[in-house]
């Protein structure tokens, strides 16, 4: 039986300032209730341009150009202390501007629902020609655009607009005349999720030089649902994403669990590889338009830029043991069960200490904990505090209560075993998985030996249960391939038993 390893990871941020106004729930709900509100008037002047988003240190961490701990060396506020030599290309992914993303949406548009203006299409396609993860064939599929008047007409009829720098450059039409689950708004959300997932999977393939056809299974773990009036969440984003990313040998399925879904997907993928069902399993998720500018009201009130201006996406490949990449310990898995209850202590025990106890490990044996890695600069102005820090405090307090660490060591523990939050508040995106790529790099560079990936989810938001959810898994240094010297197969044992029986029978018959 093989050991599952993390073969590669990719992280993508799509800068979508125009979508904040129209598709983020905070702005769109305000627009419906109070279209002339002071808040809405102030939003445009608080939106960052692409360059500012690229140079924002937490974004550079997300796409892999800096390690999370390096944020400790950058003075706050980070939005005022930009990284001068920041790059669009990341060691583990990329930043994508809004105009190029609209072309990616068109590339993902299987039912001719996305209309883009002619000149916009031509000029954007031309500027994208050097992006290494797109092919000429793909650009050829994005046909000539539409006249601006046609797009305006469709928007007047109910299509959802696509703006760039405040100008209408396209729209997304409804996929059905009356089906509430195929409205233009839902199609925007789903095509955005699919397209950003595709860019993440393409980056995973490109950055890690993975043959696309080696991926056998894709688990998609975003928070959107695709389906029609008869099956609202029928699916399946996974196969749709695999198709566009060129993973021709793959099938797949969607896993849901709010913010915990990516870690569920990571464990499921590891299990599929461990069991030998598939050799290469990709987990992937695109971003959510609804969460753009979610805390924008507080950011505007406190005169900050609207920092939730990027869609987040990621893709991770879990493969058979290569003797080098960090392994996923399927025997050290934590889970919040139905019976766990909702007390914070019980939650942390189920996710952190119970799996460690089963393996004889202490809290300090995990070098880095990846929890809910939201960027605190986004959440603190909204009164939600520093979420990763709150998690690290809880882990430290749990350690102190159990006697694993001394109370006086708690602050040091938090600094050494934690890290600053850096992920966009895109629901499922910040939970556990943003650190998988950095953990892989740090483990392979010998900086750490072991990391725990913790995913938590607020299931009660779906109104089906009051329960909370969470799972965790440990990643650690690959011990190297061990030759199975002296190991014998079942068939060999059968042969040996048969031979002995034969000899014994001969002894009985011949008396010797």
């Amino acid at each position: 039986m093989t050991t599952p390893i993390v073969k590669g990871a990719a992280y993508v941020l799509v800068h979508t300032p125009d979508m904040v106004m129209h598709y983020g729930t905070t702005c769109s709900a305000e627009h419906d209730a109070n279209p002339n509100s002071e808040f809405l008037k102030k939003v445009p002047s608080h939106l960052r341009n692409y360059e500012e988003a690229v140079k924002y240190a937490p974004n550079q961490v997300y796409i892999g150009n800096m390690l999370p701990d390096e944020l400790n060396n950058i003075p706050k506020p980070w939005y005022k202390n930009l990284i001068a030599d920041a790059k669009v290309e990341g060691k583990m992914g990329a930043m994508v501007p809004q105009d190029e993303f609209y072309i990616a949406m068109k590339l993902c548009d299987a039912f001719d629902l996305v209309m883009l203006e002619k000149d916009f299409t031509d000029s954007t396609k031309a500027k994208m020609s050097k992006i290494p993860y797109y092919t000429e064939d793909e650009f050829a599929k994005v046909k000539e655009g539409f006249d601006a008047a046609d797009i305006e007409k469709k928007v007047a009829e109910g299509a959802e607009p696509l703006h760039f720098n405040g100008n209408l450059v396209g729209c997304v039409k409804a996929a059905h005349a009356s089906d509430k689950n195929l409205t233009a708004h839902i199609m925007v959300e789903n095509i955005v999720s699919k397209a950003s997932g595709v860019i993440a999977l393409k980056n995973l393939i490109h950055v890690n030089n993975i043959p696309a056809d080696s991926i056998e299974y894709v688990i998609e773990c975003s928070e959107e649902a695709c389906g029609d009036m008869n099956q609202r969440g029928g699916g399946n984003f996974a196969k749709a994403i695999a198709e566009v990313a060129g993973a021709v040998s793959a099938t797949g399925s969607d896993t849901r669990g709010f913010c915990a879904a990516p870690t569920h997907a990571l464990i499921n993928a590891a299990a599929l590889v461990k069991s030998g069902v598939y050799k290469n399993v990709a987990i992937v998720a695109g971003g959510a338009t609804a969460k753009l500018g979610m805390n924008g009201r507080d950011h505007v009130n406190k005169d900050l830029p609207i920092l939730e201006d990027c869609l987040g996406a990621f893709a991770i490949l879990i493969s058979e043991d290569d003797g080098v990449s960090p392994v996923l310990r399927t025997d050290i898995v934590g889970r919040h069960t139905v019976g766990t209850g909702s007390a914070p202590q019980a939650v942390m025990e189920s996710l952190i200490t119970k799996p460690l106890d089963r393996s004889g490990l202490k809290i300090t044996d995990i070098d880095k904990y990846s929890v809910e890695m939201q960027n605190p600069e986004i959440t603190e102005p909204a009164g939600a505090g520093d979420v990763p820090l709150a998690n690290y405090k809880m882990i430290a307090a749990l350690g102190a209560k159990r006697g694993d660490i001394d109370r006086t060591y708690m602050a040091t523990f938090i600094k050494e075993h934690g890290m600053p939050g850096f992920a966009p508040t895109q629901g499922h995106i910040p939970s556990g998985v943003p650190f998988v790529g950095a953990a892989r790099e740090m483990i392979m560079d010998g900086k750490i030996n072991r990391a725990m990936i913790v995913g938590k989810g607020s299931l009660f938001l779906g109104r089906m249960t009051n329960l909370f959810d969470g799972v965790s898994i440990v990643m650690e240094k690959n011990p190297g391939k061990v030759e199975e010297i002296g190991a014998v197969s079942k068939e060999e044992i059968k042969g040996m038993v048969a031979e002995t029986m034969k000899e014994f029978a001969a002894f009985l018959l011949n008396g010797k």
Partner: protein, 105 residues
Amino acid sequence: MDLENQKRVLELSEKFGKENVVVVLGASEAETAGLAAETVAAGDPTYAGPLAGVSLGLAVYHIFELKEEVDADVYDEQCGMMEMVLDVDAIGAEVKTIRDQYSKF
């Protein structure tokens, strides 16, 4: 405070009477605890939910303020860890300020 929770508080106070309802908070920050206390005592300050403009005047406490009222083992199991993590004094002071100002029961 979450709009759904505001609705629940309103319904419970109508069903059992405002004088018979005590709201126990579990918020992790003084500011959020204060906002939730204000919502159930004076009305929703954000004017977004069912308690906008509805001054229930309910008695409201943070669970940290009720430590002496709870079985010690249960409290330790449910709140012991968070007591080590959060700013207990600041949360308690914030909720008490709101309670003294707006609670009628």
